[in-house]
């Protein structure tokens, strides 16, 4: 520190001049900045800083508000850059404009503040051959156009990595472009409606207030209003007419029907009044335009809320890298760079530290820590060693891994998570369907009431009929009824995904909020599921190694935690044939001509009176191994509860939920766990059928059961419970059957999930209550002729806007258990 006087001038960024990390003792990487020598921590930072300063963009260092990442990561990707020049790789993300003009969508990593955007824009735009560059601050996405005869894409990417950022191609084929187009159209419709509304209101206000207005001026104003309202009705309100037409074609009464009817009637009536002169009746142009504008504004807000929920999906999609290092002649170490699209199942890939795994697979060489944070929300890296499964999209952090590819593309876990999220967001939840049905009834009722009121008024005063009918149609607000549920649900789903609880079914939130009983599986749910063999007791004079090898051979194909534990530590198990798995009981198979059975004592010994394990103490599960002659060994397995299990369960109990523990394990182990975690209701030795029967009996008592579990043997009971939550680490079958998936394996998210689900339910009820209450007051008032069209417009629009704003409160939901974790995350996002 003594030899770096320059650092004294930059107290906020002590340490390395570029990245802020501590400078190692004896490191000599000086940087000249504003005639002073600064110290960098490594050669990477030195090179980056020098590049930035030399190209005249040193202002970055005075403007930045957050520190960048160390550029090491960028260097590992450098070798792959040349690949991006291949036409077949460019196909998916590069648009060819003319002969040599290309445009590509890139994602920039390591962007932490606005200064980074400025720096990248300046730097890329300064390259010869680059025609234009635009970087979107909100999405961190860059759009670059260049002349391919003067510069190659790899040179642009390299220039970006020279200043310490990573640019990689973004495949715009997905939702992004669609959303952008939709949003653009929505903005245009909104703009037209907004302008129309403002100007029509300008003409309308004098007619309400002025007393000395001549008829010709009044007529001129109606004509001007008419001209302005035509584009609003024809262009801005087009989606409502389209929706209404679609509803009618399907012989249904949706939200759009009365909206379209109201807009249409009010508009046509106003047109009639305008054409037939000043005495024919009032004009409603102001109501029509305002009505359209506020409805569109509500929909626009809702679209953005939905987008925020969808952002989680998109983040996941871009995790898989575009290129990877293949080892074609494994175990020989010769490398080649290939695009991920060209990988095949069975290929070996080398994943260096700092690289992202391209596919699901199994580790065949190396020992490292892998971060699955993007997939699960779990921030701590997971250690991976020989034979461990790794998931595509996770980041290798410690040392090189050689991975044999097992699943690619659409088969990977990442792809299935994305599919589940997509499904949840496209599915209409039960309460939403109910609201739709209620709204359809409401609309039908509304049309009947309107007709009746119209007939009554025809008898009293025929000149008022049209206006009262329009007033009723305008003032009632089925759109608030329609917005009430989806707005709340999308906001809540997005919030939950960010907390690590993935909703895969539309009805999940609603049912979770009403749940009265929570049933837990033990292994892998309340405990880590990483069982380990604590004791081996060989019988009949067998050797410990021999029985361990037999057990490992039988369990070689199973995902069950017990199987994993029995496999660990056995290097070369013999192979077993005719393996038959009986869920909840055990496995049978033939090894070297002899039949072996492993599992519960009753299963292994094939008897109704199972032999007793050698020792009955708490916390251990005993697994028996037998051949045709009888038992040959006992294995004692133990597991530890998750760190947050006790606190989370206590929180759930305080919410008034009854907790149950069902496990296929032995009585002692289950009792031990139940006592540790404070669960009064526990059942040991439960088979999948027993678990299902237990859940069904609870349901017959009128309880609403939420099942939390993992593993294949939980699939039937997960499907049987009203709402099911699977642990994200569990077998994939369980996830497909589950309504929600706990991605990080943190039980604490469950309590948050229940709290948020209840809050969502409350907000939905508030919204529906408001929408109904409003109509109960508004319809009679309008029917009696007390509501002017002007008031009707304001009333109906503000009621729908209020509903959406109320729903958006859910996005601020503070997680009780994660506040500390959320605060610990880098708070770089300015403008929040």
């Amino acid at each position: 520190m003594s030899d770096s006087p320059g650092l004294m001038d930059a107290p906020s960024f002590s340490g390395c001049f570029h990245c802020g990390l501590p400078v190692p003792e004896g490191a000599q990487y000086p940087i000249q900045f504003e005639q002073q020598a600064r110290q960098a921590c490594c050669r990477g930072c030195q090179a980056v800083a020098q590049t930035i300063i030399d190209s005249g963009q040193g202002a970055y260092y005075t403007h930045r508000t957050a520190l960048p990442a160390t550029p090491q990561q960028a260097e590992t990707e450098l070798a792959q850059l040349g690949l991006y020049d291949l036409p077949e790789i460019q196909e998916s993300f590069v648009r060819v404009e003319q002969e040599n003009i290309r445009e590509a969508a890139l994602i920039l990593e390591n962007i932490v503040c606005a200064a980074c955007i400025w720096l990248n824009e300046r730097h890329i735009a300064g390259l010869p051959g680059v025609l234009s560059v635009e970087i979107n601050y909100a999405t961190r996405r860059a759009r670059v156009r260049w002349d391919n005869s003067r510069i190659q894409l790899s040179a642009i990417l390299k220039a970006v990595s020279d200043i310490g950022y990573i640019a990689h191609p973004f495949d715009p084929g997905r939702s992004d472009d669609v959303f952008k187009r939709e949003r653009n159209t929505a903005i245009k419709r909104l703009a037209i409606a907004g302008l129309g509304m403002m100007q029509v209101m300008m003409y309308a206000l004098p007619t309400y207030t002025a007393t000395d207005m001549t008829d010709d001026v009044r007529l001129l104003m109606s004509w001007a209003s008419l001209i302005l309202t035509i584009p609003v009705v024809v262009y801005s309100a087009w989606p409502f007419f389209l929706g209404a037409w679609r509803d009618l074609k399907r012989r249904m009464l949706g939200m759009d029907v009365p909206v379209a009817l109201g807009i249409g009637t009010a508009f046509l009536a106003s047109v009639y009044a305008t054409f037939s002169g000043p005495d024919a009746g009032e004009v409603y142009y102001d109501s029509v335009t305002m009505f359209v504008f506020l409805l569109l504004a509500g929909r626009f807000l809702e679209m953005n809320a939905r987008r925020r929920a969808g952002a989680a999906v998109e983040e996941l999609v871009k995790l898989i890298p575009a290129a990877t290092t293949r080892l074609p002649n494994w175990p020989a170490r010769d490398e080649e760079q290939v695009p991920v699209a060209r990988l095949a199942v069975g290929d070996h890939v080398l994943v260096r530290p700092g690289e992202t795994l391209p596919a699901d697979g199994v580790v065949v060489d190396g020992d490292s820590a892998v971060s699955e944070a993007m997939l699960t929300g779990e921030s701590l890296p997971v250690s991976k060693t020989l034979h461990d499964q790794v998931v595509g999209g996770s980041l290798n952090q410690a040392s090189p891994l050689v991975v044999q590819v097992e699943k690619l593309g659409a088969d990977t876990r990442l792809a299935s998570i994305v599919r589940l999220l997509d499904r949840a967001q496209s599915e209409k939840p039960l309460i939403g369907q109910l609201a739709d049905r209620a709204a359809a009834w409401f609309v039908g009722l509304l049309l009947v009431i309107t007709t009746a009121v119209g007939l009554v008024w025809y008898a009293i005063d025929p000149s008022k009929v049209l206006w009262i009918v329009v007033s009723i149609l305008v003032v009632t607000c089925p759109c608030a009824l329609g917005l009430a549920t989806p707005a709340a649900l999308t906001t809540a789903t997005g919030r939950l995904t960010r907390m690590g609880l993935l909703t895969t079914r539309g009805h999940a939130l609603e049912t979770l909020a009403r749940a009265t009983d929570l049933v837990f599986d033990k292994t892998g749910t309340l405990t880590h599921g990483q069982l380990s063999v604590r004791r081996v007791v060989p019988l009949e004079g067998r050797g410990e190694h021999e029985v361990s090898a037999l057990a490992a051979a039988l369990e070689a194909g199973s995902e069950h935690p017990i199987a994993k534990a029995l496999r660990t530590g056995v290097a070369q198990p013999p192979s077993a044939d005719q393996v038959r798995n009986t869920p909840g009981r055990g496995v049978e198979g033939v090894i070297a001509g002899r039949t072996y059975r492993i599992g519960t004592p009753a299963f292994a010994a094939r008897s109704e009176q199972p032999p007793a394990p050698p020792q009955q103490d708490g916390g251990m599960s005993w697994v028996a191994l037998a051949d045709d002659t009888g038992l040959i060994a006992w294995f004692a397995l133990a597991d530890t509860p998750r760190a947050d299990a006790a606190a989370s369960l206590q929180a759930l109990q305080q919410m008034g939920l009854r907790l149950h523990l069902l496990s296929g394990d032995g009585e002692a182990a289950v009792q031990n766990t139940a006592r540790q975690l404070g669960i009064a209701d526990w059942h040991a030795g439960a088979l999948p059928e027993d678990k299902l029967a237990y859940v069904t009996s609870l349901q017959q008592q009128g309880r609403i059961v939420a099942m939390v579990g993992d593993g294949i043997n939980d699939a039937p009971v997960l499907a049987g419970a009203q709402v099911s939550i699977a642990m994200g680490e569990g077998a994939d079958v369980a996830q497909a059957a589950a309504d929600m998936v706990m991605l990080g394996g943190r039980l604490a998210t469950l309590a948050d999930g229940v709290a948020l689900a209840r809050k969502t339910q409350k907000i939905i009820r508030q919204n529906l209550g408001w929408a109904l209450g409003y109509n109960v007051i508004a319809i009679p008032a309008a029917a009696l002729g007390y509501v002017t069209p002007w008031i009707a417009g304001i009333g109906m629009s503000s009621s729908s806007l209020l509903v959406v704003l109320n729903a958006l409160r859910l996005s601020d939901f503070k997680s009780s258990s994660h506040e500390a974790a959320a605060d610990a995350q880098p708070a770089y996002a300015p403008g929040r």
Partner: protein
């Protein structure tokens, strides 16, 4: 009051012009990023590359 006969048509023309500008702005991507420009306005790039006052290597 007669002035209104001129002003009202004039306001219509104005609205038309504004609407055209809005549509053009939406089409050319002015609304694509509503966050970044707020930050980029404080970053001025009027400091030229300091190639000549840098000490020779």
């Amino acid at each position: 009051m007669d002035i209104l006969l001129l002003l009202i048509p004039l306001s219509l023309v104005l609205v038309g012009v504004i609407a055209w500008i809005m549509l053009w702005a939406a089409r050319s991507g002015q609304f694509d990023d509503l966050e970044g420009p707020a930050h980029s306005i404080v970053m001025d790039d009027d400091s030229p590359p300091k190639t000549d006052d840098r000490p020779p290597p």
